[in-house]
Amino acid sequence: MRRALKPAAREPVVFDLATRPLRDINAILQALPAHTNETAWAIANPRGAHAVAVGVTTPVSISIDGHVGYYCAGMNDGAHVTIAGNAGPGVAENMMSGTVHVMGDASQAAGATAHGGLLIIEGNASARCGISMKGVDIVVKGSVGHMSGFMAQSGNLVILGVAGEALGDSLYEANIFVRGGITSLGADCEEKPMTEAASAILETLLKKAGADADPKDFKLFGSARTLYHFHVDNADAY
């Protein structure tokens, strides 16, 4: 596993999930005042716990030392969360802003419905990565599973590895950048010309995510917009 991108500036306050209930830890993190001086936090022994560091609204850094269960950093709104391990389903689901950095692999529905912020996954992400995303940026350095970007509404999904079956099914206005090739495209998803604007977005995201990749090696996929209106001739796709 690689190192986190932004090591905390000062010694973090460490919570031990083996001895302290999740409720206490989340309550403290959620109640932090906007301009707290305590900007570095760490959580030891997560051991697959669910809903760790959810709903934090202060731009503090939280590093989680191990694997987490479902919905880690769910609805995050401003915090910088690093998971030194793998993440269960729905990591950073419905994130509003901030960053979530998974050093290992992520399970299904990573970044589901997220509105903003940046989700970086160093390893692979499972099925439905970026499902219904609503503005978030997601960078997956490995591959993603089937139905990734399903009904994705806006934002950018960057995949350095291979995308599984039915990529971008029923896509709305999100951009999907893929370097390693696709298995198949979902309904209404098509390859788009890589415009300068799109390439600039990609370059910025790769840089932010610390990804060593050349934007020129990526293909861009977007919505063919044929399903935007109900039409008899589209019956097969519905």
Partner: protein, 447 residues
Amino acid sequence: MNETSDPRIPQTRPRFSATFDPHSIAEIQRAAATGIYDIRGGGAKRKLPHFDDLLFLGASISRYPLEGYRERCGTDVTLGTRFAKNPIKLKIPVTIAGMSFGALSGNAKEALGRGATAAGTSTTTGDGGMTPEERGHSQTLVYQYLPSRYGMNLTDLRKADAIEVVIGQGAKPGGGGILLGQKISPRVAAMRNLPEGIDQRSACRHPDWTGPDDLEIKILELRELTNWEKPIYVKVGASRPYYDTALAIKAGADVVVLDGMQGGTAATQEVFIEHVGLPILAAIRPAVQALQDLGYHRKIQLIVSGGIRTGADVAKALALGADAVAIGTAALIALGDNAPEWEEEYRKLGTTSGAYDDWHEGRDPAGITTQDPVLAARLDPVKAGRRLANYLSVLTLEAQAIARACGKSHLHNLEPEDLVALTIEAAAMAQIPLAGTNWIPGKSTGF
């Protein structure tokens, strides 16, 4: 027709088929012409076993009634007593069901908030997020957590008084939402993060969980996000009410919301509305049974909906074991939907007041199911809110009148024993004896 033209011989008159009735024929013709199914609003329109098929017995020698205007008959209800730090306390057991801003105009949402607040009850957001008008005018607001997650955000989640995880609706158990392009105005589009004017389809499954074990973790997350303060409701369309209720209990719900097939929708395929799901009459007892079997009846509250119109319906739902009811269609009618004053305009739309159900088209003459600013301006939210408050008050007074007649000092004291069924079907579905017998089909072998 007879071949003869002799006027003295009786003619065979044109006869419509009961199977290929005029409605079926017109639908076949429409389908053949367009190639697409019919979409409409409202709930199941065909006749179904319903609360009308039950009667209250009233007091007699064996039990005595309460004085109509003197003796108290309580109506309050507390929802979310299982885990939430801040359960919801309502004055009346009639709540306003979730209906989205998008399906409804901003004025209509405001009017619902005003009316509900005046009556001391809650209102509910819908598939489109929370609007400031709605939050501002609703003393108690339930925030829906739907598969689409349109407009879902942490700030609004924390502003809510309760959270309703929507798994299904009675009009379309197993179906997602539809909002056609005419109603995707710039504001609706922005709230949902969608291009303007598209025909929007919302997902039927939640994006980040499937199944009851996942739901349990999702509920844990929602509680962690909101400091364990807010009651978490789980709403299901009536299809397998015993198991759905049991699984919602297992997943940690504070309140179960059960919506029957008469329940309204803003837009769904007609075939779905009329052919999928159970009438609410058939769904309440299995849900109550699940609560009882697991020791949670009255500890986890049950809200039922789908075709509630009168105080008698409210009283019957509670007597069957519900803690509260929710209303959608009736609330819209109270605001002014289908009002005769717009008859001329209904005619222009090819319908008539009382039958208008093209709520998905956004051309509602009453200004309720529309995003057209000119039409929406027709609805005065203050006056419409007052009408809704009046109606809620009548529902409560009617339910109380019945409860007093049955000798009950609180609406929650109504019980199945107060009821009889008029038909064998209703007796079987509601597990209530057929009137004049002690026979419950499938349960007892009485006379």
